[in-house]
Every structure is written in C-alpha cells, then in structure tokens.
Symmetry: C3
Subunit: 309 residues, 3 copies
C-alpha cells in the first residue's frame, strides 16, 4: 500500500492513493460541516510561507483547526525570519521541525520542498516551490473534477494561460497521467507555453495532448477548462501582454460555445481572465473548487499526521 | 426581536439590541475572568486586516479564544494577499467565508464591509472601513459609559479632535441617537469638522448637538469627553497642525474645569492629545474602556455565531 | 523560595531557581513528546515582536501550545501596531495585558522589557531587548550544558564572536556566575569585545575569565564553545569584517584541536561562522540546543502562569 509522509510533488501519487484520498476528502467534508474533530488536538502544524499567499495559508490552517489541531505560522518568512541574517533553508527546517509535527512550506525556489524534506524530522507539505509544483492545489483541482463529473477517465481537459510558470498546471498534468483516455489541450501565449519536461512526462505515460491557440475550437469539445492567470511581467511590453491576455478570456461569448455540462476551474486569484458575468453560470466551478481545498487538505494533513495512506 | 448577523454599522442597533448586548457583555466579563468557556471550540474566526491594527485585532482574537474558539488571521492583507494580484474583495470574501465561521474585516475603503457581507456565506463584522464606521469600537465606548454612569439618557457628551475622518465618532453618534435627552458637543479644528451626514442623522432623530471650538466652556458642563487623535497629514502645514492640535489637549489644566464625576474616553492609540499626567486621575477611563472592548466583542461574537440577539 | 513572575534578565536567577527550572524542563520534554497537556487550555499568551524573529517566536508559541494554551501574536509590531501612530510602549502593554495572561516581548531598545513589566497586569517575558539581554536563550544554553555534561561547575567555556552586541553572551555570563569554578574565555574582534559591565559583574561574583584572540589555544582546553554571529555592519569596511570573521570560524581544522568531549553551541541563526562540515560531528550540539529551547520555555511559561517557582 502506498503511503503519504512528505507531499512534495504530484508525481508521487498513484491512482490507488488518489482514490483513497478522495474518499477521505468526502468524509472530511462531513467532519468540517459538523462539529469538527478533536483527533489532533495535541498536534502543531507550522505554516512557513516565504512567499505570501493568504488564501493557501488560510486553507491549510482552517483544515488543521477543523481537525482539532494547532497552528504556528509566519506570513512572510523571507522578510521576517533569520533568512535575512543568512540562514540556510536547511537550518531553518531543522529547527522548526523540532517545534511542530508538520510543516507546510511555500518557498520561492524550485526544489525547496525536497531540500526541506531531506533534513526535516516531521512531514513536509509543498505548498508551492517557485515555478516548480503545487501538488495540493492540483489534488483539489482533480478532486473537484472527480466530485462533479463522477469520473476523470475519458475527460477532455483544456489548460489555459501561463503554462510555463503556472506550477499548478504542471502538477495537475502529472496527476492526470494516472487516468485512462484523458485528452489535454494546452492553450497559451507563445512566450509561456507548456514546458518540454511536462510533455515528455505525458508522452512517457501515453497521455494524449495537443498545443493550440484556438480557444473557441477547444471550447466546443472540452469538458473541463482550467483557466490560469497570465502575469504582465512575463511580456516584453504592455501592448503584447494585452494582445495575449485578451485572446484567452472566458466570458459570456465563450460560454456560448461550451458544452452544457462543461466545468470551469481556476486556481484563483483571478484578475480579468474570467469575466465576472461567468460567476452566475452553473459551469463556473471555481468557488466550489476553492472550498474543496479545505476538504482535500484535511485529508492530506490527516494522512501525513497518521503516517499512512 | 432584533437579531445580529452581520455587524456593519452603528445604525443597525436599536435600544433593545443594545440593552441585551450590554447585559451579555457583563456576563462575558465574568466568563473572561474565570475559566473561559469551550462553547465555540469548533468554530473558526478569520481576522482579515487590510490595514494594520494590532490592538483591535488582538481584542477580537482574545475574545474568540476566551469563547473557546479558533482564529486564523492576517496582519496585513493588502500587502500579502492576492489583492496585489488584482483580486477583488468579493472574491477574497467568497473564499475565506468557506474556510471560517465568522469574518472580522478591517479595510481601507468606505462600504467594504457591506460589500463583503453581500457575498459572504458567514457573518461579517466591520472592524473599520476607511473613514466610514467602526461599530464595535462605538459599542465598547457606549458600554463603558453605561457601565460607569449606570445610564446614557440625559448625558452631555463632548467629541473632540478629528471629527471628519474619525470613524469611531460617526459610529458613536449614531448609537447615541437611541437615547433620551443626550446632548452632544462637537469640538474640532476647522478642517476636520463633523460631516453633514452625521448632523442630518441626529436632526432626524431629534438629538441635540452643537459645534463649538471652546473646549474649556464645554469642560465645565460635559459628563463624557470623547477625545480622538488628529492626524498631522490632514493639515496644510506643520504650523497649522500644531496650532489646531494644541487647542484640544486634555491635561491637568483642563481637568481643573471638569466636573468631578466626568469621564474621559479615547479609542486609542493616543499621541499627545491626552497628557500622561491625566492617567492617574480617576476620570481617565480610557484603559478601562479598552478592557471593555474584550467583553463587548465576546458578546458580539457570541451573538453572530449564535445567529440571534 | 524564589519565585518567577516577570522574566526580565539573567541576573534574577539564582542557583536554586535554576535547579528547579532544569528539573521542570526535563519533565516538559516528556510532556512535549507525548500527548501534551491541557493544563493551560484557557490561558492566552501574547507574542509581541517589535523585531522579527521567527525562530524565537515559534519556540515560545510551540511551548504554549504544548502546554495546551492559546496564542495571539504579531510578527512585526513596530511596523503594524499603533506604534507608528505615536503610541508609547507603556500604553501598548497596558492594553495588551488586558487581553492576555502572559506577554512575550521582543523589542529593539535596552530596558524595554523592564518598562513593560512596570505597567503590565500580567507576567512579561523578555525575548530580547536590543543589545541588552535575552534571558530565555541563556537559560536554554545553560540547560543544554547541564543536560549534556551533567554539571556546570568547573567547566571552561569559550564565548566567541560579537561580544558587545551579542545579548545572549551577556545573559549567559550572568547565569554562569551562579556556578563554582567556571572559567570563561572571551574571544572577539577588537571592536566588539565583552563590555566592562559584564566583566565587572563577573569580578564581583569571583568568576574567572580572560580575554584572548587565540582561538586555537582555547580550543585545546575549553569544554564548551559558544559561537555567535558577527554582523558585517559593525565593521568599518568589508575587508576588516572578512579579516575578523575569518579568524573565528569553527571548522574541521579547529575541531582537530578540540577535546573529544567538547560541546559546540550557537544561539542560531548561523551564517558562516560554523562550517556545515561540523554538523556531523557529535560535538556539534547547536541543533539539540535549539530543541531544548522548547522545553525550557515550556518550563518558564508554566512557572510564570503558575506564579511560583
């Protein structure tokens, strides 16, 4: 049986673990909506965020509290911690792992979660390492698809936006490689396309995908639209940014091409890439998706603290 | 029977609700000084502060802990959250309300609490919205008057300082409109006088008030002095600021004119507008007032989480 | 019997109190490693850090949670609190002490903890006041020596690095004055030597010490090496800093001169003054030392909240 200890990247999850995790997340939804549990009342989770993310931090901290646990945290470790005095991440983790039972790490550098796990005396959960991965986001994305469609096998999934630096896209692609007959569409401006390393992984796993720039054509066939934010600073000029960003907006016009039972996801926060007018459409699943983040993180924390899947 | 769900502004409180709230605050004082309660042990309060206020945040968080509850918070949401990535307040609230049972919001813009309440799935408490309102501060101000004088009807109340941007003054004025025969004195430098909208509200409610610049004359007749801080940046020059600020200081000299049973309040923090020498005078009630903030916020949180008044 | 209420400086501790505290810390290690305790479930500790220190804050907050207690905190009080509006430390403490049962204060100014204690209605623990003292760090340092050597009497202890501004060195020196036949070596660059006030105190207590610049000679005879960080900004030029810093590095070469049963301590964070290669040596005790911080702080908090030693 597969086990969870550290949660570092999406590639560590196989289908058996995912199935169990999703069953647990459903149970956690019940726990969260009722009295909670005091199961982990003596456990402490550290949230060590070297990069700000109120939403992700709140989601983890709420999950820990719903499980009865305790939280110590920092909102902006890079500015406040001894990092500015020249301390290595390894030294920080060695010490913090002595003060808590679980570490949730958000860091600016690729590979930082792995480095942390190498020296930590407690489980480490990667809550985003630079443009690397963000596995718990991908797990909640996938869980939302599973929960609302009842299946993942056979779905056509469009990933839109910044596919180079968008770490959630990378993690979600790796997770999808566990399923049968999925078909991925990568839709991105020229300068932020999906990396070769992701494509290579999908090739190795036999997953079908295609790169395209025609969102309207994809809108007619896709089941899931995974929209992401494009950052202005990736583009040489504001003009080029506007041109690129304008092409990939999900709005009422695009909705008219989509299948009736389609689903629109977004890791959030959104800027203008999903129009407000879409919120009222039943296909807009991104707020339900954010809510699922609570349940999936409860399930993940539970497994990390139990030391088993 | 009036009920509390969101706490957005002082105008929503009528006398029946205030009477009950003050009774509850007295009970909460007993709870806080003894073993606390585990009534809300499975509830989570989010403190979402887009503007820093350690005191107000600590007061709310201490109140929630004394009630047995849990807290997730951010000290500086504007800098850290996805706001800097262009997210609307509405999106932030939609998601945070899924992670908690109650939101305490401090924001820089007037009307933000109302906007938050419109999309939140849980109660929202306005902990200050720009130069708009700060209803829980006004409730603790009024509670302090009630507790120490035994009544509010018939009192003469002086409000001093920045009456334009001082949101606690606005909220307190609205609350006082629920009482009989109160008389308000507004004492402010020319450029930060009480807004017409507040005066109009008092007129509509039949509350007597007058604007004056003679603090010594008012000192002789007022029962309550509500002193507030004047901000240097509201004035065209340091010279004009010093001139204005110097006129409205409460010090030993002014104390000599005040009635023996008068009461000096201040929402704090103070700069120089109440001299340190005043602290030892029994009429200086501002530290007791701050302490009452804990009890009134326990009462408010209790009512919000119970969904009833 | 000596008692603990405020913890302001190392000089307040006599040997009887230290002995009891160390016994309590051993018990706390057991509590922390097992289910924790719910002894202080209704108590609130405020961590008021006017200067950032994620490690120290986490250590205190973890300790409070392991004791079953609750925490409200601020990471950067100087930037966020009403301090920027001109509030005095005394006013801040008066109010925060009404919201909590214990205050842990880190501040930039010498004497701030004492000023806080003078107005606080609850115990104050000094978690570092400028270049003044950091008594709980010194207590954990001493506890580590006691725990690993089984004694403190008769030991030869080298203190290395910035001895002028290194407040932990001051506090540890004061604590060592309680023991018999200890011998201290102070090894520092010319511009950051041990202050006369510390030497005077040791003279008064009859403690032997010597100042030297020859780390290799000391390496041959010392039992404990207390290494500290030298700050670049204390030196007139980068060149002089490099020259000074280079002389006092603990590395494999220096290890070769040290006694087999010696112990290397560091309050952490370290920059380059202890080489990474030293970490694997059994004499490297600094990570165990950091871990002991949790147990000693649990013991200190327990005594402060119990109001007795």
């Amino acid at each position: 049986m597969s086990t969870l200890y550290h949660v570092l990247g999406a590639k560590q999850f196989d289908r058996a673990v995912l199935d169990k995790l999703f069953i647990s997340a459903r149970e956690m939804e019940h726990v969260a909506k009722h009295a909670g549990t005091d199961r982990f009342t003596s456990k402490i989770m550290s949230t060590l965020f070297f990069e700000a993310s109120t939403r992700t931090r709140f989601s983890f901290e709420s999950a820990m509290h719903r499980l009865g646990g305790r939280v110590i945290g920092t909102e902006n470790a890079s500015q406040f911690s001894s990092t500015i005095k020249g301390e290595t991440l390894e030294d920080t983790i060695r010490i913090i792992s002595g003060y808590s039972d679980l570490i949730v790490l958000r860091h600016t550098e690729i590979g930082s979660a792995k480095r942390a796990a190498a020296v930590s005396s407690v489980p480490v959960i990667n809550a985003g390492d630079g443009s690397g991965e963000h596995p718990t986001q991908a797990l909640l994305d996938l869980y939302t698809i599973q929960k609302e469609f009842g299946r993942i096998d056979g779905l056509h999934i469009a990933m839109i936006g910044d596919l180079t630096y968008g770490r959630t896209v990378h993690s979600l692609s790796y997770l999808l490689a566990n399923y049968q007959n999925v078909h991925i569409y990568f839709i991105a401006p020229d300068n932020v396309v999906i990396p070769d390393s992701v494509k290579q992984y999908l090739d190795d796993k036999g997953i079908k995908y295609q790169e395209t720039t025609d969102l309207v054509e994809v809108a007619k066939v896709a089941d899931v639209f995974y929209q992401t934010r494009i950052q202005k600073e990736r583009f040489p000029s504001e003009e080029e940014y506007n041109k690129a960003a304008g092409k990939y907006i999900i709005d009422r016009h695009l909705l008219s091409f989509m299948k009736k039972e389609a689903m629109i996801l977004h890791p959030l926060p959104r800027a203008g890439e999903i129009a407000i007018e879409v919120d009222q459409d039943p296909r807009a699943a991104y707020f339900r998706q954010a809510q699922n983040g609570l349940y999936i993180r409860m399930a993940i924390i539970e497994k990390c603290l139990s030391g088993k899947a």
